[in-house]
Every structure is written in C-alpha cells, then in structure tokens.
Amino acid sequence: MSKTLDGAGGLTSIPALLHRNVAQFGSAPAYREKEFGIWQSWTWSQTFDEIEALALGLLDLGVAEGDFIAVIGRNRPYLYWSMMAAQMVGAVPVPLYQDASADEMAYTMSHCGARFVIAGDQEQVDKVMEIQDQLTEFEAMIYLDPRGLRKYDHTNLTQYSAVQEAGRAKRSTHEPEMKARIAKQDYDSTCVMLYTSGTTGKPKGVVLSNRNVIETAKSSSMFDGLRQTDDILAYLPMAWVGDFIFSVGQALWCGFCTNCPESAETMHTDLREIGPTYYFAPPRVFENQLTNVMIRMEDASPMKKWLFDYFMGVARKVGPSILDGNPVSLIDRIKYNLGELVIYGPLKNTLGFSRVRVGYTAGEAIGPEIFDFYRSLGINLKQLYGQTEATVFITAQPDGEVRSDTVGVTCPGVELKIAENGEVFYRSPGVFVEYYKNPESTADTKDADGWVATGDAGFIEESSGHLRIIDRAKDVGQTANGQMFAPKYVENKLKFFPNILETVVFGNGKPYCTAFVNIDLTAVGNWAERNNIAYASYQELAGHPEVLATIQSHVEEVNTSVAQDRMLSDCQIHRFVVLHKQLDADDGELTRTLKVRRRIIEEKFSDIINAMYDGSDTISTTTEVTYEDGRKGAISATLDIRNATVQAVTAQMAAE
C-alpha cells in the first residue's frame, strides 16, 4: 500500500499519474473489456500507448487547448482513453449520458460548445448528426464501432483507429506540442466537466479541477485502503461523477484495473466472471438482485428452501456482528461457517460478490432489510453521501460503523455544518470550481469561503457523529396543519416494500398527505403468476383489485411507522392512487439517474392530484407517453382512489 501512495508531489494532472503508473506498474493490467466472448486486457504500458496515439491524432485533427470534447457511449476502455487523451492535449473531456435523447444532447453540447465528439457507435453518431445544425461550434466526430457507418458521409467523421494511426504516423510532428501542453497543466487546470442530472431545470456543467479529482481520489482511496491489485466493474453511466472518480480518478491514483462489461445485458454475467473487489451500485441494483434471489428461492425445491431459510436466519442474527468484528458465540460462529459453505458462499458467487472487499451504495436511501441482507452474507456494503459538486465524497461509513439509516462520517479533508433550516453545508478540497457559464448559480451554491449548499436537509446524530439525511431541503415543507412535511422520508419507507418500485408523496400546504404508487412489475408479476392472475399489461396489473389491496396494506403499515415519529406524524398517507404507467425518464418524470422530478409530475398529473383532494373515488385521465424511439402516444385509464387508515396522533404529541 505504501508503494501505491508515495510520490504525491508532482502528481498534479491525469497525464502525470499515467506516467507514474507506466513507470511503477507498467505490466499490471489497467483495463479489461469482454469482447468476442473473452476478456481482452491492456497493461498500463499498452494503455499509455493507446492514449498517446489518440492524443497525437487529436492534435492532428486540430484540437486546441481548452476545447471541449464530448464523449458519448457505454463504458468501454477506448472511451476512458478518449477522456485521458483529451487531457493529454489540454482539452476538457465532457462525458454525456448515452441514453440522453437528441434534444437533451443538443442542450449540453451547445452549452459547452463542444468542437469535437467521440461517439461509441452508430446510435450515438446518428443522434449527433440529427442535431448538428444546432451546434454552431461542432467540427468533427470520431466513432469507435464502425458497424453500419460505412456508407456515411465521412467529411466530418473519422474512425477512432484511423485517428490513432494518423497520430502514430505523425508522432515526430506533434509530440513536442503534446509534451508542451502536458507540462503546462497544474493542480488548478480543468480536469473534466460533468453535467448534473438536472433534477430541477436544465443540467448544469460542473467544472472540476485536477486538484478536485486527485485530492478526492487520494483521500478516499486511503479511507478505504484501496490497493493496486483491486478490480472494479465500470458499468454505470460515464457521465456520472461517481464513475469518473472510480474508473479514472481512483483507478489512476491506485493503479487498479477497470473492467468493462461486454454489453449492458451481460453485466451480471460479467460481474460474476470478474468478481470485483471494489464495487459500487445504486440501491435499485441491490434491490433488484435481492428480489430476483427471493423469486428464485420461491421456486426452489423444499430442501433447498429450508436450508436457505435456516442459514439466512443464522446470517441475520450474527452476520453483521461478524463483519463488524464484534464478539459472537462459538456455536453461532460454527453455524455461520457452515452456512458460508452451503449457502452464503455459493450465493455470493452467483451474485458476483465473492471478492468484494469494499462495496458502496448511494444516491437514494436503501431499505434496512436489503442492506442487512447483503451485510449478513459477509459483504462489506457501506453507504456514502456525495454529489457532483463535491467530486462525490462528502461523508462515508468507515468499516465497523455501518448502519442503514446514516450516511457516515465526514471523509478526510471535508468539513460539515448544518444551517438553521437544517440544510447541510460542506467545504473540502473536492469542492468544484464553478458551474460553466453560469456565475449566478455558482454564487447561489458556493459562498466566498468555499462552503457549498447541498440542498439536502439533515442532522448530525449526537451519539455516533454520523450524518443523517431527511430529504431535499426545498422539498421539506409544511402541511396545512403547520406540521413538518418531508416526502422523501415517507417515500423511502414505502419503497422498501418489494412490491413498490416508485412513489411520490404530496402534501405541502395541503390538509393531508396523498401518494402516487408505481408497482414493481417483477415482484407483482411473479406474485400474479403464482396466483393464476392473468394480465395483459402493466396498466391492467396495476389496476387489479387484489394488487390495490396489497398496496393499501403496505401504505397502512407505513402510516403506523410514520405515526411513531413525533416530528413527522402528519406525513401519514390518507389517500393514494396506483398509477397506470411507470414513471419514466423518457417522459421527463424521472431524471436520467432515476430520481423523481416532483414539479413535472405535479404538473403532468394535476388532475389526479386534485381528485385525491376533492373526495372523488375514481378519476379518468389520459397521459402522453414517449416511446424509446421518440414516438409519442397516449394512454387513458380510470383509476381508483383508495383511502388508507391513518393512526391517530395523540393530543399530547400534536401539542408539541
């Protein structure tokens, strides 16, 4: 480990880190990608050659210092190299979400004025071509996968390998320029620009400097003891700050290997084959995996099911304690080891978690049952709290202090303060430089002393010093009774039920709270299959009376639990609707990172919301939907509005 972390001096840019890795771990694997059924791998030396050839090729194309180069595509080594090649020639890489629509891409690309685009395949090339008339500064595009592109007009279009060839051929011409540009970069040069997902309004371009990225990578790698021999699986969007820090920042700092799956569909197989030692996934991924395990166990033979239930009981009882290093009786230890042999080991292997030493989840709250399930298997799953503006890390849970309801203690170098209204502020070396071309927003978010508003309301738990997040600060409001209204708090409780995929709670300034519910098609569909309930569509299943009754019982259970929290007891749900369609990013109802966009939902479904407050029992509505290929359609439905039982809040509590 000491070998990994020496030489902090002088390592002030991505190219400098690359040079160090070539010198120190030249023959160790740096990138792997599964292609044609086998894992292809590149050592740090080979990686450097590839990046250098591309960088020289970019110079040959005329890339100037400070140019923005958009990078769009699924996680592939070549695209990570594209970002680093851009940094080698003093340009700024801008990774974009690969599933963004052409319109969304038109906004971000014209906002940064990208002169060059590096696209993964035909789909991305098509999108850029569709909008290139709106992009005044756009000049040329480089593509990776030539399939289907043979007949395209190649005046502004070059294949990745051709750019590299040109770079190699003209090495002597361009090499001095490249070296000069690398030499000019210091700790305050721009490293990357990442667009926020835009939960509210237009995405903002967050400019991160070398200092932000390298300091954060350094301190977070130390916090978790990451090693040069670690393996990660890069499968989350490249445009997301987390992927940039894990697969570029920390990977370069520690020199570990980044593995790219063959395609999005093969991710789980590839995960199993690689067996990463350091793994990140949003709660949704863990949730889906658990749901799948449970569904498959329902179909297992009675003997297997009994074994699973018995040993999972043992694991729930002692697993987390063993993981945290707390004392456990000898008998339990023996039972747990036996379980490891027959259940936990094979299960972890199936899930691809056999080698996970450090696992993180973040972005949303994770259900305590889900969290405990993985921890009880001996997987060191932890939570962290962060955002793009902080270069990810604000707080994280240290080994041995892991709980499902907190997000941990401050990361090294981070300071925290809580404002009067409960909003969390932080200051750290990772604090972003600015929002590109948006000084007002920059000033709104970051004050002169470098404190940044997170927009989240939370508090520091006195007993443990851990931070707890309640909700988005601007979503926290008051009901008409003057009680605190924190929708996320209730939504998270609801979403912990496997049958509920998504939910939106309303009630700010209203006499009582109401909710929209999306059922989880995997879980509810499986239940329907086992109970011989036929359904033709999501809409039909969502409207089935038995499904509604099940959801109602979940809502009532949550009400009981919410009623126990003195501050938030008025957030109990009085009425709810199970929606006829899934909330979808293509319809603008969710962000690309799958967070709920409240304002848009409130506007779009205002008729249903009104009906929940005017006492009607049903509501007929028509909703516009966008299909994946951009076509539009409409679905109409008549929805039942259900009343849920609420717990009486005692007078004494209400009086407080």
Partner: protein, 273 residues
C-alpha cells in the same frame, strides 16, 4: 431489364458483381402439379435478391431448388458458371450455400454458442477422434472457429444469450440465432426463408438492419423470400415476382412496383386460365 454482363451499380453506390447462380428454364413438378413453370433468373455477387409472390406462388419451392433440396425435372442450375449436378445437403453446404428456415430448425437442447458453432462444421477438417482428444490441430482449429462464431454473436448482438439453451429463447431471438448459424458458415450465398415471418414491427426493423449490415459488412450475397412487401422493397436490390408458379416480374423494386402484372397478382384480378 438490367444489363446481364459485368454487374451494375446500386442506387446507394454498391458495386454488384458477376452472376453467382443462374436458373435456366426451371420447371418443377410434384406428380401432376406444376409448382414452378419455366422460370429463369440469376443472382449476382453482393446483391440482396428477393423472391416474392402471393401464397402458393411457388416461392419456397424455388428456394429449395436453389438450395439443391429439390431437383427440377426440366432446366439447368448453374452455380459459379458450372452446371450443378444433384447433390446431398452437406455437399450444398460445402459449396458455400447456407440457409435459414421458415419454421426454425435449431438444436433446441444446445446452447446458442453450440448452435452457431455447428455452422462452422464445413470449415473444420480434423476428424471426430482428433476433436474428442482435443490436442494440437483440433484445439487450434476450434479456437479459430470459435473466434469466427464470437464475431457473429457480437455482430447480431446476442452476447447475453450465448450460453442459454435455445429452447428457452423467444421466437424472435431464435430467428436471430438461426441467422447466426447460417452466417457462421461464411456462405457465398445465403438463403433466407421468410426471415420476418411472425415478427412484430420492432423485430422486423432489427432483422432488416442485420440483413443490410450483413450484406454491407461481409459482402454476403443474399436471396430471400418474404411476404411483407414493404420490407422487401426497402431491402432488396432486385426482385423476382412469382404467381401460380410463373415469373411475372423481375427488376428493381421500383420497376416491379409499377409492373401491371404484379399489381394484378397482388390486388387480385381474375386469372384467365
């Protein structure tokens, strides 16, 4: 009619080569039924050639004559300039002709990868015992063939089902696997029997994209039978139209579309025989 000598240039700028297969005055009878009556046409290197026609027009019979499964009573089949004698199916495969079937004919119990590998069979030279021992040449050969198979799996985007038994796949994917197997033979002529039958719009779009990129990427000559007129017109370079066993049209999609006999056959004018 098109010039028959050296080939031609398509509208989108592809050079079409010389004749690969020529059918001369083919007549095929089943007892007293004349399924094909005196039909002549050719298939050129690098083109997508379609055979269309209403139900019972004799399209599938025609494809079976091309593939050598049926031997016509009259007429000649010339393949790469030479007269083709009656052959067994494996001999046809060795000649570089591969096909897919209207009703999928895969090995249901085998994985997708194994099915695709069977398409490589004609390219394997080592014997059964050498392969069982899997030493030296047999091992090297399998590696080489696996590489070809994997490139095709990548090309048709079926990586995620590589190890899945075919029996567990939905219809649309089975069709794609069958195409993969045919493609794995690296055929000089690929015959597709109703590649879009029973597919929804999205699957048809995918399949069309694969057929076009196959032709574009590997230069595969393709002869296909299809019901869906829209698809045929978009995909093919030249179209043969059959009705009641006779050829009623032959030419580019535009020529065929404006051919009165074709319009009559499809819109249903009374037949005078």
């Amino acid at each position: 009619m098109l010039d028959q000598s050296e080939g031609y240039m398509t509208a989108d700028g592809r050079q079409i080569g010389p004749v690969v297969m020529e059918m001369k005055n083919i007549t095929l009878r089943f007892g007293g039924v004349e399924a094909i009556k005196d039909i002549s046409f050719d298939i050129r290197e690098g083109e997508v050639r379609a055979i269309i026609g209403p139900n019972g027009a004799g399209k599938s019979s025609m494809l079976n004559v091309i593939s050598g499964f049926y031997v016509p009573q009259d007429g000649q089949v010339l393949y790469k300039g030479a007269l083709r004698p009656p052959m067994r199916p494996y001999q046809v495969a060795q000649q570089g002709i591969a096909r897919t079937f209207q009703n999928i004919a895969l090995f249901e119990g085998m994985s997708v990868l194994d099915n695709v590998m069977t398409g490589r069979l004609t390219h394997m030279k080592t014997g059964m015992f050498a392969q069982a021992l899997w030493k030296g040449r047999a091992e090297k050969e399998e590696t080489e063939n696996r590489e070809v198979a994997e490139k095709i799996i990548d090309f048709l985007e079926i990586q995620a089902i590589r190890k899945t038994p075919v029996a567990r796949l939905p219809y649309g994917l089975k069709k794609r696997v069958e195409l993969a197997r045919a493609l794995a033979a690296e055929p000089s002529l690929l015959l597709l029997d109703e590649p879009m039958a029973g597919m929804n719009v999205e699957e048809k779009e995918d399949m069309s994209r694969f057929i076009l990129s196959m032709n574009d990427e590997f230069g595969t000559t393709i002869a296909l039978i299809e019901h869906d007129m829209g698809v045929v017109m978009d995909l093919s370079d030249r179209v043969v139209v059959m009705d009641y066993g006779k050829k009623i049209g032959d030419g580019t999609p535009d020529e065929v579309r404006n051919n009165q006999a074709v319009i009559d056959a499809y819109l249903g004018v009374a037949h005078d025989e």
